[in-house]
């Protein structure tokens, strides 16, 4: 039987994390499936567990002037229902799993699990989210994009706990989230696309594009985005092929039980084209109004 810890507060949790090799366990919806055993028998966890889902310090949503903070143990359904959270993320969450799982699963768990098909990660990276990692004597804040290293691999040290996710509140007048799965509910993503942009004075002044489940980590290219920023309508149109080629080189999906590499690549490029079309249509419309 595996040892479990149920700390009363975050400090106690950090002390346990510091002294024991133990798995941080928030909602547990991934871990309970990963280590499940026969019916009526105990799940086979390889290490002790620290329960974090009940810690009040980690269950919160706070809106600040230009960002919103989410405690790592906040459940997906709480985030989905909270109007202070950017719609882009709420929309993505509403397509994850189904209500009975969203009522248990947490945002910190989805990030910590670091699955390429983890559906909060792609929109959070698009929205430039940062995460805070606490250990007993220190705390550090890093871009989520830099935190995830590969499938199941992150920069989390074995004395650290994910405590908070901060999302900058910026204005975007275009946003598109698409999840492609086998069915609407309880489907793991074959791929996901998350894009936001802002058009101002008929120029693109912000654009963030992430594609999930098509590479070991979410695909987001600051380099390509920089090339798009500042473009006017005719320039977007003339550079469309170049942009698509750029992403095409980065999208390197695999074949697995959920989908094939060919399908994933084709569909993600199609959604990218659609996103660029939404942008050019909006610019066209703006021009007519002037």
């Amino acid at each position: 039987m595996v040892e479990t810890y149920r700390p009363d507060n975050l400090e106690e949790a950090l002390k346990i994390r510091n002294s024991e090799k133990a798995i941080p366990f928030a909602g547990g919806t991934d871990l309970m499936v990963k280590y499940k055993s026969w019916t009526g028998t105990l799940p086979k966890f390889p290490l002790p567990l620290i329960f974090l889902g009940h810690l009040p310090e980690l269950i919160c949503i706070e809106k600040h002037k230009d960002f919103v903070s989410i405690g790592a143990s906040t459940t997906l359904s709480t985030i989905e229902d909270d109007k202070r959270i950017p719609v882009h993320l709420r929309k993505a969450i509403s397509m994850m799993a189904a209500p009975p799982i969203r009522n248990i699963a947490t945002i910190g768990g989805n990030i910590g699990n670091a699955s390429p098909a983890g559906d909060t990660i792609c929109p959070l990276i698009t929205l430039d989210a940062t995460i805070t990692l606490n250990s007993l004597n220190a705390s550090r804040r890093i871009l989520l994009k830099d935190f995830i290293m590969g499938p199941g691999r992150t920069l989390l040290k074995d004395n650290e706990i994910i405590t908070k996710i901060d999302i900058p509140l910026k204005t975007y007048n275009i946003e598109l989230y698409r999840k492609v799965g086998t069915r609407k509910a309880n489907a793991l993503s074959k791929l996901s696309f998350s894009g936001v942009a802002n058009i101002s004075n008929n120029k693109i002044d912000k654009i963030h594009i992430s594609v999930g489940a098509v590479a070991p980590i979410v695909v987001r290219s600051n380099e390509i985005e920089k090339k798009i920023i500042g473009l006017r309508l005719h320039e977007v149109k003339s550079k469309k092929e170049e942009i698509i080629q750029g992403y095409s080189a980065l999208i390197k999906p695999i074949d697995d039980q959920r989908s094939t590499s060919t399908y994933r690549k084709k569909v993600s490029i199609n959604i990218l084209k659609y996103f660029l079309t939404i942008i050019t249509n909006k610019m066209d419309k703006n021009k007519n109004l002037c």
């Binding site: 909602g27 105990l42 189904a98």
Partner: protein, 157 residues
């Protein structure tokens, strides 16, 4: 083994179980709540769904050690309440029960839906039922049952 204290169907329960034991196994094997069914064991079918502090959750994904202090409701508890009776009657009237395996989870999810909004529209009902699979009815009768429960005794919720 740890002492586990929680409320089950409005009764205080104190039992000695392993904290990593699944809630579904605690409910069925230790507390004889046989309405809680195991379908997939991975949270996808909703047959094991129970209410935890009023929220619908899959009990196969919850370790016992995390429910200390919670209020758990199974069909054994809900069926004794006015709301439960109303939903069960509506399910029977609409023909929403065939083999019955998914029914406890469906009835508890119906309670969850109606407690959030006492006049849900069809789309809302279907979205909230997305985590409960039924291989018999095709869902239409279940949706009809929930709508009629809401219409019949709206004041209950």
């Amino acid at each position: 083994m740890d002492r586990l204290l929680f409320t089950l169907n409005n009764n205080k329960v104190e039992i000695s179980v392993s904290p990593s034991k699944r809630l579904i196994d605690v409910l069925r094997d230790d507390l004889d709540m046989k309405s809680v069914k195991e379908g997939c064991g991975e949270g996808e079918c909703g047959a094991c769904a129970v209410l935890k502090d009023g929220l619908i959750v899959t009990s196969c994904l919850i370790p016992a050690g995390t429910i200390t202090g919670s209020n758990i409701t199974t069909l054994e508890g809900l069926r004794e309440t006015e709301r439960g009776k109303c939903i069960i009657e509506a399910f029977a009237d609409a023909g929403a029960v065939q083999c019955g395996f998914c029914t406890p989870g469906m009835v508890l999810t119906a309670e969850y839906i109606l407690s959030k909004n006492n006049h849900p529209n069809e789309n809302e009902i279907r979205k909230n039922l997305a985590g409960n699979l039924c291989r018999c009815t095709g869902y239409d009768m279940i949706v009809t049952a929930i709508i009629s429960a809401a219409e019949k005794v709206g004041g209950l919720w």
